[in-house]
Subunit: 694 residues, 2 copies
């Protein structure tokens, strides 16, 4: 148990490995000494000779246009540069550009209310004596400032910006992150640091999912019973909502509120049962899934309520779009209610989809009255809806594509569900407009972008950071950068750098794991557990839902909740095995072999320490079989490397036996799974076996 932690960190934190397949991103032309650590990649970047040193004389000025938002953004960047470099800078930007090191030239403010039509592009030119950032709008300038911050490098001589010329413009105009604050409440300070993270990777829409069967989270002064009875006291005041909107706007991020209707509305009905299609009383729903409670679309009182409610919300959320949800109405209560059935016959509505369409048409008029565009999930799309309604597709690219062909704008979310616990590379490969699209140019223009979605059945305020980050940065790059920026190894290399930047904003996606392991084990001496945890990740969403019958009140305090999805070990170990298997007899291969062997030994020898820590922790002890398996995986790895390095064949049956061990380790257990099975399988399969006697 002596060497393991350091070794395990080889897998966990591998920073850079020289591997044949690691290529520079297409957007990057390299110059001596420049390491591209930008995320997302800019559309055009060329490096120059030279560097701009960051010293106490560094200063910033704005020219042409300035406003409070731009000043605040420049100041924020200067403070971050200060903190990164330990140098006190005069943080108030000047207006006299002449003597400043950094000149920010902006043409104008952009839209009073930020919109999808705002120009977000910028250019940044850094020489050995100065930096010049140019943008048409303040939002463009903010993106440029973020890039500037990401360019900071250091060596023994000090901190500096490399000389570069960047021309950058986003590929998609709608680059969002949805957070479901209904199923588990997320406090304001967590949302703020999330917005900082979003700005860092140039996301521009925070889609705020504010109501669910499990909770109504937004204060209404007109209808106070919504939160009084539907929130467990966990909701945002109007002042807090305005604070979030302002905080987001200051970072170039629009806030699109979602109030899901007519379904997913149990929490509304606890205080206002008359809105529902069935008689009350109602309760806040604790379970997860699709439920019967649904608004009554046949009563005028429903629309009177919604008119008042939407009017009130429209004053808090200035964005042009208003998300009405519209998903997963099972129609059960509509079918059961004779009055509603008779309404459907009277209005010639053939089925519940027809009735929902009627509801949407009425809702659309209310939104228009209050100056809002409608956006909703796939289900809202019916032929009768006007073309300025926008669709967010959870069903997938076919659904989105069909909408575009019918003239509807849309954004993609299928493929970007962070709650599924997929690796970043899976999301990274999903393109809202793949290169084989059959859409015409005009139809393609209707695909506005996409949104990462964080559904919160299995996530709470404590672990949301590690569910969001750094994976969301990979999705952000997909939505910003050119389509041909798609080298997975290079993405992961840069994701490691971005992950540290995100930690600098106070996000806890790195630190929470150790903190949770300390809580679980009741000690600060968690070294063996860290080795164990470093090669584990949560099972996918469906698998957890299947294995654990949890509801909203179930404590999220198990090992699975401590673990980040797609931990660094996953890609790093895969890279190490790939290097070992495919790099012929080089120093790199020998190094990979050393690291693999050391790592496998660490898995084996950490077992007693893990079991010791589990002995007094019933919560941890649920994962005890995994500790045994970790040790077995180490044995498999050691044997495979031993055969591969000696060139000797394994005895007959060896492969089948070892693959069985791997199969066993892949079975559901304690809600966690190993990150290393596939590369181990590659190792085993690469071993040649002695021919059978038969």
């Amino acid at each position: 148990m002596i060497r393991q932690l350091v070794i395990a960190m080889i897998f966990a934190n591998l920073a850079t490995v020289s591997v044949a397949s690691s290529q520079a991103a297409p957007a990057q032309s390299s110059a001596a000494g420049f390491t591209n650590t930008l995320m997302p990649q800019p559309s055009e970047l060329s490096t120059q000779e030279g560097r701009l040193a960051i010293t106490a004389s560094f200063s910033a000025a704005t020219e042409h246009f300035r406003d409070a938002r731009l000043d605040a953004a420049v100041t924020r960047s200067l403070v971050r540069i200060e903190n990164r470099c330990g140098i006190f800078l005069p943080t108030a930007p000047q207006t006299n550009a002449a003597p400043a090191t950094l000149v920010v030239s902006v043409d104008g403010p952009g839209g009073t209310i930020q919109s999808i039509d705002d120009d977000e592009s910028y250019s940044l030119e850094i020489t050995s004596s100065s930096a010049h950032l140019r943008a048409a709008t303040v939002v463009g300038a903010m993106h440029g400032l973020t890039t500037l911050e990401q360019l900071i490098q250091s060596d023994a001589s000090g901190y500096f910006f490399p000389a570069v010329v960047i021309h950058d413009t986003p590929r998609f105009r709608w680059r969002g992150l949805m957070i479901d604050c209904g199923r588990h409440f997320i406090p304001v300070d967590v949302l703020k640091r999330t917005l900082d993270g979003m700005a860092s990777v140039k996301l521009n829409v925070f889609h705020w999912h504010l109501s669910e069967d499990q909770g109504f989270r937004m204060e209404s002064k007109a209808f106070p019973r919504l939160t009084e009875f539907g929130s467990d006291g966990l909701f945002y005041t109007q002042e807090q909502a305005r604070e979030i909107v302002a905080y987001a706007r200051d970072r170039g991020i629009r806030v699109v509120p979602e109030f899901d209707m007519p379904g997913h509305t149990s929490a509304w009905f606890v205080g206002y049962p008359d809105l529902a299609s069935a008689p009350g009383p109602f309760q806040i729903e604790r379970k997860f899934g699709v439920f019967d409670p649904v608004m009554d679309p046949t009563r005028e009182s429903t629309y009177k309520f919604l008119d008042g409610f939407i009017g009130e919300m429209a004053a808090i959320f200035p964005d042009h779009f208003f998300h009405i949800g519209g998903d997963e109405n099972n129609g059960v209560e509509w079918k059961r209610n004779p009055r509603i059935q008779s309404f459907m016959r009277e209005h010639n509505l053939k089925d519940t989809a027809g009735l929902q369409n009627y509801f949407n048409q009425r809702l659309l008029k209310l939104l228009e009255k209050h100056g809002k565009h409608m956006i909703g999930w796939d289900e809202i799309l019916t032929p009768d809806l006007p073309k300025d309604v926008m669709v967010q597709s959870w069903r997938g690219f076919d659904s989105l594509s069909a909408g575009a062909k019918n003239g509807y704008t849309g954004i993609l979310s299928a493929g970007y569900y962070l709650n599924l616990m997929s690796p970043a590379e899976t999301h990274y490969a999903v393109d809202p407009l793949p290169d084989n699209t059959d859409l015409s140019t005009e139809q393609q223009a209707r695909i506005l972008g996409g949104e990462a979605c964080m559904w919160e059945e299995q996530t709470s305020a404590l672990d949301i950071d590690s569910r969001l980050w750094p994976r969301t940065a990979a999705i952000a790059e997909r939505l910003w950068s050119p389509r041909n920026v798609n080298d997975v190894d290079d993405m992961y290399r840069r994701l490691g750098v971005e992950s540290l930047r995100l930690e600098g904003f106070g996000l806890t996606h790195i630190s929470q794991e150790a903190a949770s392991l300390r809580q679980l084990s009741g000690t600060q001496r968690i070294e063996p557990l860290r080795i164990f945890a470093s090669v584990l990740e949560p099972v996918p969403f469906d698998a957890r839902a299947h294995q654990q019958h949890a509801n909203q009140l179930t404590p999220l305090d198990l090992l699975v909740d401590a673990l980040p999805p797609d931990p660094p070990s996953r890609h790093n170990f895969e890279l190490l095995v790939r290097t070992y298997l495919h790099l012929e007899n080089s120093g790199g291969r020998a190094q990979a072999q050393t690291e693999l062997t050391a790592g496998f030994n660490a898995w084996i020898t950490s077992r007693p320490g893990i079991l010791h820590l589990m002995a007094d922790s019933p919560l941890l002890a649920q994962a005890e079989p995994r500790a045994q398996q970790l040790s077995e995986l180490g044995e498999v790895g050691l044997e495979a490397v031993s055969y591969l390095s000696s060139g000797l064949p394994a005895p007959t049956g060896w492969k089948a036996a070892k693959l069985a061990v791997l199969d066993d380790a892949e079975k559901p257990q304690a809600l966690v799974r190993f990150t290393v099975i596939k590369p181990l399988r590659d190792l085993v399969n690469a071993v040649s076996e002695a021919p059978s006697d038969k």
Copy 2:
């Protein structure tokens, strides 16, 4: 560099070491299997045979009295028990006591406004079938619930409460923590988690230092220019202040606001220069120290302003006490102003102290008008003040004692200054009423307790948690527990447990170090740095102020800011050396020798890794000489252990040479110091040396 981290953790996280001097606290009578991990120690505790298992059928009920505050406290405890044990419990307390596992019997609510006269005692009896908590007031019950949470144990069979009988009452009535939010602003969410930490160790006063030369932090609607010009935009709204007051009250904590006057008031004068004794304009003071700006006590307009201001604040802060500061007025502006000089002559005020006394008398009348008792620092104490004015002593026990002899109540803060970066044991040894006190019983009753003080010149929101915790818990025990609870080894053992509980409240005192090291080094592979950092701590306050000419705007982003004061390594290493030197030829001694040798080797071999990480980080590189010294300290340790274990004498001059190395390592460098010098010195001094040839 292979074995170091794990070894280093031996020093950093040593959980329990069997050491001869470690004794049970006097308050504890031990039963088989019960480990006392309570902090603070209760005044009476006896353990019984048996345990109360925590299962899903665990339930809670209140009897006799209940209110919303008690219900919330019971629910909060149940949620924590749930999360700790991974069991979903019905969290709403019942009113029918009969079938409940935990019965909370409370006589009444306690004071409408919590005061020093409230009964905070409780008793807790746990058998193998039930738990009964009894208290006269809700605040007493909250203390009992905290103790209950601290009693949770676990083993392979599950989670349980040990059977105990506790009768507990605080030694002092005023147990506070002062936080200076003037010099660096501390956000509301950080204050909230701090209040959770305070409640966990039964502190009952949050002393909120809200104004300083460097910033005025509290919104005034009557005088909006106070924050508009005096806060850099960093202040608490009245709504936030009310939120903090309510949050504190819900945890049995009073909030005493401090508005320091007549000095320390530069920030007031930026918006209201007419309050000052010298002509403006004024600026927010960026430097630290004692400055000239002071209120003009000769003008009626000053008192008119303060009447309005105190009236406004009295409505926000319901506590009976109002802290007026009163410290460190240098009198310079009063001496310079001819009009003030002539006022002093007219009123027969001999010196500036006399004038300040005049000011205090006027202020006292205003406070009385608004229903408040005055509290201030030592300087306010003049013979003319009425006896119900209370003194907070930063000057020390003599000053406090003199006040008590003259009839004034007081609390001690000298000895509890957390910003001095002293070890917990230093604060722990400071008793507001030492057993050799010459005060009469009546005079002793005037010493109400004490307050830990967190002055913020060198601390910001990022690192305040590690400056506060866990050291504040040791001070809290001094103020709550009987005087004879003073075993330092046992205190540190329990402090380690409490530290993990505090982390469970979201405090970052443990996790921030690694996060900051990642930021400083720009990588997640920080293992050698962690070894390095684990035996370093910040230099004392004065030393830092002397070595670094910092002001309010200086970034706090150096290695020193990453390091917690009094890290676990300090006491653990001392304990290990003590065990090695004083335990004769036992297994414990051999084990200590093994651990020491391994640790010293880790210090030596981590050097190249540390230097490698420093190479590209100019901020870290400032501490490069310390990395060299760490390696040298490892060599000294190895040599000493080698001589001591072999029994051979060292050559002549060896000791002097090695002590010189230690002396060198104690010299100021990079604002950090080693935690291990003194025990290393003991090791070296224990070696016998060959007689000199001379």
